[in-house]
């Protein structure tokens, strides 16, 4: 059962922000409700007003933008902007996402279950800042930034700055999360996302992307890692990029990746800010981070060679 509330359905972002500003703590932005309504049923949140953002123009759109944040024209790949009210299912099925960021479409296909994907939104997922968010972990490796709108104007924040802690973001009370913008990788990059856990919210997640030398990566003979991106989710208070582990992979060749992957996995595990909880002890999580970083890197390396490993790990999903 839900406690009674007033439902507002603004037609513009300005109207929505004015409502949020005027109602303050009494209001909550509402899109799919897959997180919000749950917490309201439990009585953990008790907003007396819901501000439905689904009718705001642009909030339901997926859009390729040819310009970078500073207005410079990007030559290799357009950025991809996903409106806050776009559902996981729409991301999964979007030809644009499939073409520009295939791994994002693949990860979207594995968020929660089909009912949640049909209703839950990208914006809601990021704004809730659940440490177990698949999208936040993956998006960190795509240099994501979020766009916030308020009566004071618009601002763009790197996703890593937006997510401040578990269930905590940099969003002010009168601000709305309008969209998230990703910077797709080029054809010289191979990637993998692996999550592990027996519950719907994973115990840990690893996103790995390897950029290889040569214009089209390993399939054209590129063998050396010129840049690695590695993000770890679920085990700590927020998903994080692990710069030290990324650095340890730089310059390694695919042929002897095993040693470099082992080193990167140890670095990532040692740096994980893991806590004991229902998903396991901190020690257990660190050990599993090492295991799954190695596996994710192995899958990304296989994909760089044009192979799709048939690897299946118990209680793990490979995207």
């Amino acid at each position: 059962m839900l406690r009674p509330f007033t439902l507002h359905r603004p037609e513009t972002a300005e109207e929505a922000c004015a409502l949020l500003a005027g109602l303050g703590e009494d209001a909550a932005a509402y899109a799919g409700g897959t997180e919000l309504l749950l917490l309201m049923k439990l009585g953990l949140l008790r907003p007396r007003h819901l501000v439905d953002v689904k009718r705001i123009p642009g909030f339901n759109e997926i859009d390729a933008r040819p310009h970078g944040p500073n207005g410079a024209r990007l030559t290799t790949s357009a950025r991809l902007t996903i409106g806050a009210a776009v559902t996981h299912r729409a991301v999964e099925r979007s030809p644009l996402v499939g073409a520009r960021c295939p791994l994002v479409a693949s990860v979207a296909r594995h968020v929660a279950n089909v009912r949640v994907r049909n209703v839950g939104t990208v914006g809601g997922n990021l704004a809730f800042a659940d440490p177990h968010s698949d999208l936040a972990t993956l998006f960190l490796t795509l240099d994501a930034s979020v766009e916030l709108v308020s009566p004071r104007g618009r601002r763009e924040l790197p996703l890593g700055d937006f997510v401040r802690g578990p269930w905590e973001t940099a969003r002010a009370a009168d601000e709305l999360l309008a969209s998230v913008t990703l910077t797709p990788w080029g054809g010289d990059t191979a990637a993998a996302y692996v999550k592990f856990g027996v519950h719907e919210r994973p115990t840990l997640a690893v996103a790995a992307a390897l950029r290889l030398d040569g214009t089209a990566g390993a399939r054209r003979g590129g063998d050396r890692i010129v840049n690695a991106r590695l993000a770890i989710g679920c085990v700590g208070p927020t998903p994080v990029r692990v710069a030290d582990a990324e650095a340890s992979l730089r310059g390694a060749s695919l042929a002897d990746l095993e040693d470099a992957a082992r080193a990167a996995a140890e670095v990532a595990a040692a740096g994980a800010d893991a806590a004991d909880d229902l998903h396991g002890s901190a020690d257990y999580k660190r050990a599993m981070v090492a295991v799954f970083v190695r596996r994710a890197l192995g899958i990304a390396a296989a994909r760089a060679r044009g192979a799709e490993p048939a690897a299946r790990f118990p209680h793990a999903v490979v995207a």
Binding site: L38, V114, R115, V119
Partner: protein, 153 residues
Amino acid sequence: MTIHVTVNGRPRELDVAPHALLLDVIRDALELKGAKRSCDAQVCGACTVLVDGLAVSACTYLAVEADGHSVLTVEGLAEGESLDPLQRAFVDAGAVQCGFCTSGMLMTAKAMLAEQARPSRDDVLHYLRGSLCRCTGYRKIVEAILTAAEAAR
């Protein structure tokens, strides 16, 4: 708020509160008891209904969101005495133990077959993630869905 919803093919005008959940409206106002409240948290699938063909958890879905849309519940699958091919396949395969999850399984499968006419076993397993049978009778449910898909060709 007044909403206009087509439920199992029949247009309805309903007066619902903004905080009314679709599951309560279906079960209490419309007295359609097929969709069940079980986990109440979108993880089990027992309350699955289709809104414009998409599976949703009616337990965590505001009734006002269905305004202007079509809702299909398990009661809308059969035409009179004539079972939907999925229901027929469930009966033939014995894909029912206690029956509590059955309506959700049927509706989830209904949505899947509308999207994919030729699902593989893996497709079915993927689509059924988050549809729980606590009798653990999954094998026959999956068989029944594959049989229904085969029969529809």
